[in-house]
Symmetry: C2
Subunit: 521 residues, 2 copies
């Protein structure tokens, strides 16, 4: 295995960033990535920065993977427990998975090599709500955090840290870790400073206070992160850039899903259930469907909308520029190269319309409930009664993780789950009799949307829900099979409030595992 470079291919160039470290205490700790990772030991719990494609340490993790690989080559074992904000840059996740360097991973991943290690049982994975990470680490569920590795945009004269393009759990990592390694990235535009709002008022119970945010744009913290300089064991300089894949234009299916969502908003406005002036703050997952919804909003009647979500992608910049979105709150700026260029070129403008917060605030149940978030998240599949599987293919193989979807779906004002009605070229129906893994229960799912239509489950009993879900959301090729199931389930003598035939409830999935399709031959 050769030495790793960061994702964009550029080597760290330590000299370039020297002016970003304005505190001599920190300047005196500058070292190479290879030397810095000597502070990381086998079995350490290592907490790193990074949320989606933004803010992952770019020099230290490749150096750590090299070190693990070398130690392995010398016949010793070397694994760490890896804690992050959410997913980190795919290259970084892959490097550590390839050298089998992770024994336990928390709280989210979305990378194929890591996924394979998890599904084969070589890597332990704990898939938890993103709003729960900080409190669970503080409480000690994951033992001691030995090392934090955090990318920052700079260090001020008095030793405060200017965050980079994501905040995630960085505040918590810096607070709880025994040792801190900083990566000072001079590529991060200095002008981004001030876009962040780091709240230092959280605590463990019984010392918690109300978090005084009452609007998406409220700032209650400070623009910098704090760290005890005595804990900082190394500072590494880099100028490597973040980069998300550019979004592909929405396809027909995504556009159809988006159209149903937008119609629904207008319907809710007409019924007086959503404010005509600005709706309520929108949360949406990432990916093509979410992007199509945003594009649809951009073409629609609403101006001055707000978003309260985890990640800001390229599309959001356009919406802000057009005035469709007045303000967006997130914890990560996961932009493509073009998006980053747009942001940097107009940073004074965007700084007035964007705030980045720690994920314990961006996903906090208190704030999500108070602001009345409209939660729109993707799913793998839903069952006819409205239970949603977001994570496990065929009930056993993890895809990514629950991420923040539960934080928003449970505590938000309106909880919507979106998916194409089929997958794998039509072999898989996204509407099934019973999901073999539940991430969002019937109690938390109010609206299901596929390109076929929108099922409004609010106020409906399970027997009523099943008809609406099949009628509105199932692909026509699967409707007959689903109706046949529910008819027979309802007439079964053992049937109750939620009719099921236990011997057939998972038959769609069994058929797929056996024949490669959920369709009957």
């Amino acid at each position: 295995m050769t030495s790793h470079v960061d994702e964009s291919g550029s080597q760290p160039t330590p000299t370039l960033g020297a002016t970003r470290i304005r505190s001599s205490v920190f300047r005196n700790k500058v070292t190479s990535a290879a030397q810095a990772v000597e502070f990381i030991h086998p079995h350490d719990t290592v907490a790193i920065s990074g949320f989606a494609s933004a803010g992952t340490p770019k020099a230290i993790i490749p150096a750590l993977a090299d070190r693990i690989h070398a130690v392995r080559g010398a016949g010793s074992n070397f694994t760490i427990n890896l804690l992050t904000g959410a997913s980190v840059s795919a290259g970084t996740e892959r490097l550590l998975a390839e050298v089998d360097g992770i024994s336990l991973r928390m709280p989210y991943q979305s990378e194929p090599t890591a996924r394979r290690s998890i599904n084969t049982g070589r890597m332990d994975y704990v898939d938890i709500h993103l709003s729960h990470v900080a409190q669970q680490v503080w409480e000690g569920y994951y033992g001691n955090v030995d090392v934090a590795v955090v990318e920052v945009a700079g260090v001020t004269e008095n030793g405060e840290l200017i965050p980079s393009a994501s905040i995630g759990n960085n505040k918590t990592w810096l607070d709880v870790a025994d040792k801190v390694i900083l990566e000072v990235n001079s590529w991060v535009p200095e002008a981004m400073s001030g876009i962040h709002d780091v709240y230092y008022g959280t605590a463990l119970p019984p010392y918690r206070k109300p978090i005084q945010i009452t609007a998406v744009e409220d700032r209650i913290g400070q623009p910098t992160l704090r760290v005890d300089p005595n804990k900082v064991v190394a500072v590494v300089e880099t100028d490597a850039r973040d980069s998300a894949s550019p979004l592909t234009p929405p396809d027909e299916i995504s556009q159809a899903i988006a159209a149903h969502v937008l119609d629904f908003f207008e319907y809710e406005v007409s019924k007086g259930r959503l404010p005509a002036d600005g709706l309520l703050p929108l949360q949406s997952g990432i990916g093509n469907v979410a992007n199509a919804v945003l594009q649809g909003l951009d073409a629609g009647p609403h101006k001055g909308l707000t978003c309260f979500s985890e990640v800001i992608q390229d599309g959001m910049l356009h919406l802000i520029k057009h005035g469709t979105v007045r303000y967006a709150s997130a914890t990560s700026l996961a932009l493509s190269e073009a998006g980053i260029d747009e942001l940097v070129s107009n940073i004074d403008f965007y700084r007035k319309h964007i705030v980045l917060r720690p994920q314990e605030i961006s996903n906090h149940p208190e704030i999500v409930r108070r602001l009345g978030i409209i939660a729109m998240n993707g799913m793998l599949e839903a069952d006819i009664y409205g239970n949603v599987n977001s994570t496990h293919v065929m009930g056993t193989r993890i895809m990514n993780g629950i991420g923040g979807s539960g934080d928003f779906a449970r505590n938000g004002y309106l909880s919507m789950f979106l998916s194409p009605s089929t997958a794998k070229g039509g072999a898989i129906s996204s509407i099934v009799p019973m999901v073999p893994h539940v991430d969002h229960t019937e109690h938390d799912v109010q609206v299901l949307v596929t390109e076929q239509g929108l099922a409004d489950l609010r106020g409906l009993s399970p027997r009523k829900r099943s008809r609406v879900v099949i009628d509105k959301c199932a692909h026509p090729d699967f409707r007959g099979m689903l109706l046949d199931y529910v008819d027979r389930a309802e007439h079964s003598p053992s049937s109750g409030h939620t009719p099921h035939l236990l011997g057939e409830a998972l038959s769609f999935h069994q058929r797929f595992e056996e024949t490669g399709t959920m369709r009957r031959n």
Copy 2:
């Protein structure tokens, strides 16, 4: 069908309570229950007071059941949609179910006749988180609320309402209903006035503000409920008493479960994860296991504990009297006759140690998260990966409902689910390969407890969880079957992060349905 009496058997005696109505505006509206129910029409949505055994209207609902029965006898249909706080007194629930008077029921029930109607599909039932009820009704999910029927302890000179022994959703019902019928119950001790804290600061988004509760005992509202007198169409007087069944002394199984819980608290204190001084606020469901935990705490080292829960039962009064519990917050005083006598005899003392709140506050995600609640709830069954079924027997027949368990489990600090390891004389294992209905997902369940032991799932991947759950919680008679399942699932080529064999995942339940036992013959 003969005329109904309230549960305690006493007839309403209108004259007795006259002095409780100190406003002449309201006194002028006094009428009989039979006349009052003339304001309730077929297809109306009727929202009534009541949470557990406390605070259900005692004269009007029996009169309504009579009316429905009479209209039916005359050949017309008469059903209502019934909204409550949670369960209401069993007699009341039964009366309406017996006359098939309910077309839609929300949000919780626990009564056999109603349960039968729901499971056979004659009654629609929407089973939602108790903290979501008020906002969903405000938002209009359940259409217009035509009539509120609310029991109160009295009406003040200026027309404010003194709540009775539960608050539940009464504030919301009085606010949203077109018409209000009050039942003024002179049996409710007048001295109870002042125990209530009704918060009038809630709103629909975007107008929500932080709820400024930072400790269990904080009072942020007023002792009375408000109502627009122009909406009050009738006032009915009664003196019928509440009464919960007395708690039976904990059996061996409950005591064993409680002992594991109490050991766990000490372990957590020793690890510095729970404050030695007062732990954190305790929430517990109702029933024998919860009662055993409380009794165990009473015999333990802790004094000055706090409880933040839904219901206060008899056991809590003892704990308060002994100083074990310093303060208890709830939305309902569901006491037996003896418990009520104890409360009333020492009301000045208990008023300093108990607060009753609306359920939108007692269960509010914001407060549950902030206070750091230790959530202890019962369950029907859990699977080896930590998913919990609280509601559906064999995945299809509803038992009661999710109630507030999700409010506390999701947003609390520590989430525990408790159950005996077997049911039906050992025919049912409470630990199964896959639960056929999920109310609490693997992401929300941290600790499982049976009389066999306690499984601490925090920080464990699914493959590690399954071993701990089987080893600690499963009944020895079922351990072999469960281990055999998980072994084969882990070695299946299609297996992943959460190993399952789809063809066998529900086999325990199928066997029970076919043979009457989960055991192999």
